[in-house]
């Protein structure tokens, strides 16, 4: 009988995979985003079962709680309406599925083959406390932290500037 962590892992993993599949095949953007949130929450549970409570929390807070919310804001601003649903169903016609499915399946097969043929034994036991992660961050990875903050600054500036193309100006440009 496998242990508890494994059962939890499999359950959360299954939810994540199913939610992701649903997320990428929805016709309405908001539905896709909601399924994405479910997937991200399931992945957070997966992180917890692998003994990484910090990133589990961060996954929920930042990924599901900030990034996806940003997506939802944008969808609201776009205000596409119900006509978008018909367009999406047209775009998801039969022939569009062939290449993505084949390529992804091939890639997946190769990766699984890689992982399975010479498995590195060992399992993810041991809980990694947030304290250790913090010590690592402000120790050897200090430079990376600073760089990440610069990256975020850059993204902030960029988004500000791009967002300043106000509707009035873009109308003039038309």
């Amino acid at each position: 009988m496998t242990n508890l962590m494994e059962i939890a892992f499999f359950a959360a993993g299954a939810v994540a995979v199913i939610a992701t599949v649903l997320a990428i095949t929805r016709l309405v953007a908001v539905h896709a985003l909601l399924y994405l949130i479910v997937s991200l929450l399931a992945v957070a549970v997966v992180f917890y079962t692998m003994g990484a409570p910090l990133v589990a929390a961060l996954e929920v807070i930042i990924y599901a709680g900030a990034i996806v919310v940003l997506f939802v804001f944008v969808v609201m601003m776009l205000n596409l309406g119900t006509a978008a649903r018909e367009t999406e169903s047209q775009w998801l016609a039969g022939r569009a599925w062939i290449v993505p499915v084949i390529l992804s399946a091939l890639l997946l097969a190769e990766m699984i083959y890689l992982i399975v043929r010479s498995p590195v034994p060992g399992d993810t036991s041991g809980v990694m406390a947030p304290k250790q992660v913090g010590l690592a961050l402000y120790g050897p990875y200090l430079l990376g932290v600073e760089l990440a903050s610069m990256l975020l600054l850059g993204a902030l500036v960029g988004a500000c500037h791009l967002g300043r193309t106000s509707p009035a100006r873009s109308e003039v440009r038309k």
Binding site: M50, A52, F71, W91, L107, L108, G144, A155, A159, S170
Partner: protein, 102 residues
């Protein structure tokens, strides 16, 4: 207490990544393409965390944090660009951005 074998974690990461790739190639709506990119980034993060946990080092989680920062930065800029494009062209069709061809 036994944990999850690393191989399973990696396989889960692979599945999530492949699904993200499939979504990227499948959807024509720019927004959903960005969503698929997020899914791929997330999958990569799962792999990092699984590996870090197996070796008992914090490096995996640190890496995940950096991925998170990068994903946030990329999403914000990407969505700003998407909004600009929508203002201009009133469409979110990825195939309509094909003027650099030939």
């Amino acid at each position: 207490m036994n944990g999850v074998p690393m191989a399973y974690g990696l396989i889960l990461a692979g599945i999530l990544f492949a699904l993200g790739l499939a979504g990227l190639l499948l959807r024509r709506n720019l927004l959903l393409i960005l969503v698929s990119i997020e899914i791929m980034l997330n999958g990569a993060g799962v792999a990092f965390v699984a590996a870090g946990s197996r070796w008992g080092q914090p490096d995996g989680q640190v890496m995940f944090l950096f991925i998170l920062a990068a994903a946030a930065a990329e999403v914000s800029v990407g969505l700003a660009l998407l909004l600009t494009y929508f203002h201009r062209r009133q469409t979110l069709d990825a195939d309509s951005m094909n003027e650099m061809r030939g």
